[in-house]
Amino acid sequence: MRPAAPALPARLRRLVRKKPVGAVAFFIILALAIAAIASPLLAPYDPLEPNYNALRQEPSFAHPFGTDQIGRDLLSRIIYGTRISFLVGVVSVGVAVCIGTPIGLIAGYFRGPTDELLMRIIDAISAFPSLVLALAIVAVLEPSLLNVMVAVGVTSVPIFARLTRSQVLSLRERDFVLAATSTGASDTRIMLRHIMPNAASPLIVQATLGLGIAILAEASLGYLGVGVQPPTPTLGGILNQGAPLIERAPWLSIAPGVAIFTLVLCFNLVGDALRDALDPRQRKG
């Protein structure tokens, strides 16, 4: 029997005290997520509506982040863009978890030729540089919201597969799994009821870090012009349109970049803090 771990809420409270930076980052993400969900209520203007009386205006009270080349309010576009960032982040990490975790689970549990075959496929996917793979997928499928989510998700599959496999390889030798086997539990039951719940912590940490990576990847594709296509406002897309005007309208490039940076940094900080809370063995010296 393992000693009982403190309840999760108690651990989280302790974490907030011990990792205040992570806690602040979490509340920033929460605020941004609420803003993203409530964007139709919070955005002061329609993000798609051009205003030919307010072309390329500097930041002002009326337009705190300024306006773009066709007079659209940048703050409103960033609020809506953050919504897309969250959506792509969550769905693509979901895609990666849904594909990568079963692969790692099956490979680690059955070992032998199944493991060899599945991990060689994962090795092959990892051989592609992730942005290059995402570019190739988008080149084939055409740029769209769904295809960007698939492309970003597929590039993250290997990390979830490897992480799950390494967890399962160690867990399947533990006493509670042997006990379940001796009671005649099926492989599926052992994998889903006994192994997966115990392998979840590092996966949650990786998913949190993965959200930041996915948001960065989506923004990169958007900046390169192969992400979600205009007129849908995305943070990378706004930068793509603002970059040629960097000398005359630098505000178009500053605010969206700060938004991406804040989102990714916060997810990284929360991921780091969660790692300490959920997996004490990983605690840094």
Binding site: A127, V132, L135, A139, V140, L239, S253, I254, G257, F261
Partner: protein, 317 residues
């Protein structure tokens, strides 16, 4: 060692075969290649032309035969022709490879020059403000989008301060001084992005090494602290850091696509992006193949370097 090298290289063959199949599949996944060449309308109105092109390109062969023919061509260095420019893909990539290599190597060097000392200092001054500062810097390096950092560099150093060219490229073989001026901003942009994971890896490896018995012994012998850190610490901490360095090859290749676009550098990445936007699949295929080959080679070199840095590892014994 040579036995291990051969085995490791042989292990890479199935991997490369799988990669080649995936790259070959791009042609067919992206729609009808004949339509891509002559246009959908032409295909519909001129079935004879379509049949001739299909036969000439070998597209009427069974898929495995098509793949083998394509693979034979690739092994001979024939990557096909660009649909847009009709230039051989191999030639287009070879023209731009030196540019991308200069950028990638300069960025790699900058990444190492920043992160290794930073990681060592953070480990030596563990839990001080230097350490916390290095951690914040490392986390920021990972979180900041490289294209945005590049744009901000252009704004600060190229536009407002006007001390460095905001975009463009000069080859180091043409004018080394001018090349350096043009290379600084893109290389720092790409290099800083690599420092995050490298600094953190170096720090944690150094923290672990500095707590080892042999380091305590070295200090007890009265060795100068600098010598303890460099001779006993850094060399042993380099091993895990090397893995990260090898793994960064992929991020570096991907990063060149973005940074070349930001600074209007005529490299392979920019060529690939233009091809993606124009649906020029042969060029995309060529770029993906070269980029992946570079990553596989970098991983192989990393494995070999393990033995050089750590004499305890004797391959194949």
């Amino acid at each position: 060692m040579s036995g291990y090298l051969v085995r490791r290289a042989l292990n890479a063959i199935p991997l490369l075969l799988f990669v080649s199949m995936a790259v070959f599949a791009l042609t067919h996944l992206s729609g009808d290649p004949v339509e891509a060449i002559v246009g959908g309308g032409e295909v519909a109105s001129n079935p004879e032309l379509e049949a001739r092109i299909r036969h000439d390109l070998g597209l009427d062969d069974p898929l495995p035969v098509q793949y083998l023919n394509w693979l034979k061509g690739v092994l001979r260095g024939d990557l096909g022709r660009s649909i847009q420019t009709h230039q051989p893909v191999r030639e287009a990539l070879a023209d731009r490879l030196p540019t991308t290599l200069q950028l990638a190597l300069a960025a790699w060097a900058i990444g190492i020059l920043i992160s290794l000392p930073l990681g060592v200092i953070a480990a030596v001054r563990q839990n001080t403000w230097v350490d916390h500062g290095a951690t914040v810097l490392a986390l920021s390096g990972v979180a900041v989008p490289s294209f945005w950092m590049g744009l901000m560099f252009i704004l600060f150093f190229g536009v407002w301060a006007d001390i460095l060219p905001p975009s463009g490229f000069v080859s180091i073989t043409d004018d080394p001084l001018k090349a350096l001026q043009y290379l600084i901003l893109p290389a720092v942009t790409l290099g800083v992005h690599q420092t995050g994971s490298l600094t953190r890896q170096m720090r944690s490896a150094m923290v672990e090494v500095l707590n080892q018995d042999y380091v305590r012994t070295a200090r007890a012998k009265g060795l100068v602290e600098r010598s303890v850190i460099i001779r006993h610490g850094v060399r042993n901490a380099m091993l895990p850091v090397l893995t990260v360095l090898g793994l960064q090859a992929g991020a570096l290749v991907g990063g060149t696509v973005v940074v070349e676009q930001v600074f209007a550098i005529p490299g392979m990445g920019r060529l690939a992006l233009t091809a993606v936007l124009a649906h020029d699949i042969p060029v995309v295929q060529g770029f993906v193949l070269v980029a992946t080959l570079a990553v596989v080679t970098a991983n192989l070199v990393t494995d070999v370097m393990y033995g050089v840095l750590d004499p305890r590892i004797h391959y194949g014994r």
